[in-house]
Amino acid sequence: MKDIDTVGIEEERREPMRRVAHREAFWGYIFLLPTAIGFVIFVLGPMLGAMGISTLKWDLLSPPKFAGTGNFAALVKDARLGLILRNTVLFVIADVLLNMLLGIALALLLRGKIPRVVGYFARLAFFFPVIVSVSSAAAIWIFFLQKDLGILNYYLHLIGLPRIPWLGSSRWALRSVVLFDVWKNVGFYAMVFLAGLHNIPPQLTEAAIVDGANERQLLRHVTLPLLTPSIFFSVVIALINGFQVFAQSQILTRGGPGDASRTVVMYIYEQGFRYFQMGYASSVAVMLFVVMAGLTLLQFRASERWVFYQ
């Protein structure tokens, strides 16, 4: 025990403070413990595990064989994967573009003066597809998209357009998935943009109108620039969700015909859980992760150029 004569006044004062700090740190770690444990077991560990497994050839029944970069070399040469990647990228581009454009359009539509009741039902209608499960909604859409007896083609036929083989043709299968996904999610983005529109100070719009701006100029120089934070957020989310598209295509088209509407996650699922090529499936998953992480980082970088915060 320290003799009180040899301890300086400064240290005397610091002792109780250190004790308080220690106590706080102790509680900090305790409070963090549940999440930390779960995180290590189910996120960090598996992340490293996936990278490790992607260097193996393993079907879970026989012992794993080391393959080094073999899986990644096979990735590059995989013709099916090339088509699947192309499908996924096309899907993402179409999905994000349509969601953004229609979402903004819908938000602008809803922004005006609407009687309360109408607004209530409009929000209900737009948001309901969002919260329903993908599998339930897709199950219904299967009926809608039938070529000969489906309702969509019935109405197309009524207005003189040809009946489209939505789910059966390689040309239209992916488009069907896009159509479904946009229908399902555009309400969400519309609400995000609507909230963003409400954040635009009315003084700015009024000032612009006083200066003689017409509708189009208003949109281009006031509304849209001030909406960029919402657009940025929506694009990031839409991209992440787009690359992970699975249930939509799995249920609507099974990836068919052939591989025409197969997506990367479907391929991971197929390789990992149908053919039990754990190593290869992991390598595809790691590739997906790298692509998505890279894209997200790029977007954050680029956002400094085009996103305008008030």
Partner: protein, 279 residues
């Protein structure tokens, strides 16, 4: 005059889009109570000519529908409660407690937000296999008990709670657990409810994880059961006999969501879109 025309056009488009959004569901309800032969009748009957619940009864009899429903309920509830616990405690630590490495750990946690489930699912599958937990509900409940998103959401909220409240308690000698329980949590009703709503909805609708971990029909969740039914229909070439059965099953799976939506509508929409603005 132009104003009138503008209004008419506006309402026309608004109602058209609203109709497109709900059309599939209206058709679904209508067909589910109709005759099996009328599923593909043309022109489509938006209002059913007969109302009979035979398809519903058939589905309930032939499929473990009630089990699916209870399974979804059980899993979504347990995961939601679990996440509320783990995320609030971790968020409190990050928001208000000081300890070495806090910022680094937080950044690591945030980076986890970018890790897609598909990367970690294979190792998790192997873990579950080793633990003999395949085809059990635990495999679906344990991994999502922690959520980087939930921690992030709650931390941002906790940061907005005025420090004076806690300082007063600290001066009275309160330790962090007491502060957490008596001060922070009671003030966080909104944020906790937001997280709960988002989490519950997500896990109720989850298709991917149940597909991977569950094989026995009785243990399946609602989306999985419905999805498999629909998938079989597609495989049969779209002309299988039990079209009304599928439609009835989907109707039943949607009704709970519809009810909750009607009651909590404003809250649900606001919480989902608010997360966008706050983050």
């Amino acid at each position: 005059m132009a104003y009138r025309a503008g209004r008419v056009l506006f309402y026309f488009f608004l109602f058209l889009i609203m109709a497109l959004m709900v059309a599939p569901f209206l058709w679904m309800f209508s067909v589910s109570v109709g005759r099996p032969s009328e599923v593909f009748v043309v022109p489509p009957h938006w209002i059913p000519s007969v109302v009979q619940f035979g398809s519903y009864l058939r589905v309930l009899r032939e499929l473990p529908f009630l089990s699916w429903f209870l399974n979804s309920f059980k899993i979504a509830s347990l995961v939601t409660v679990g996440q509320l616990f783990t995320c609030s405690t971790a968020a409190y630590a990050f928001a208000r407690l000081r300890f070495p490495g806090r910022n680094t750990l937080f950044l690591i946690l945030l980076s986890a937000l970018m890790i897609p489930l598909q990367v970690t699912i294979i190792p998790i599958f192997i873990i579950m296999r080793v633990l003999n937990l395949l085809d059990t509900h635990l495999a679906l409940i344990l991994p999502p008990l922690v959520s980087a998103f939930g921690v992030f959401l709650l931390r941002q909220f906790f940061l907005t709670i005025p420090r004076e409240l806690e300082d007063a308690a600290v001066m009275d000698g309160a330790a962090p657990p007491l502060i957490f329980w008596k001060i922070i949590l009671p003030l966080s009703g909104g944020a906790l409810a937001t997280l709960a709503v988002l989490t519950y909805n997500f896990f109720w609708n989850d298709y991917f994880s149940p597909l991977i971990f569950i094989n026995s029909p009785a243990k399946m969740t609602l989306p999985l059961g419905v999805g498999i039914m629909a998938g079989r229909y597609v495989e049969a070439g779209g002309m299988g006999a039990d079209a009304t059965g599928i439609v009835a099953a989907v109707s039943m799976s949607i009704v709970p969501v519809l009810l909750i939506f009607l009651f909590a509508q404003r809250y649900l929409i606001e919480s989902i879109t608010m997360t966008g603005l706050k983050t």
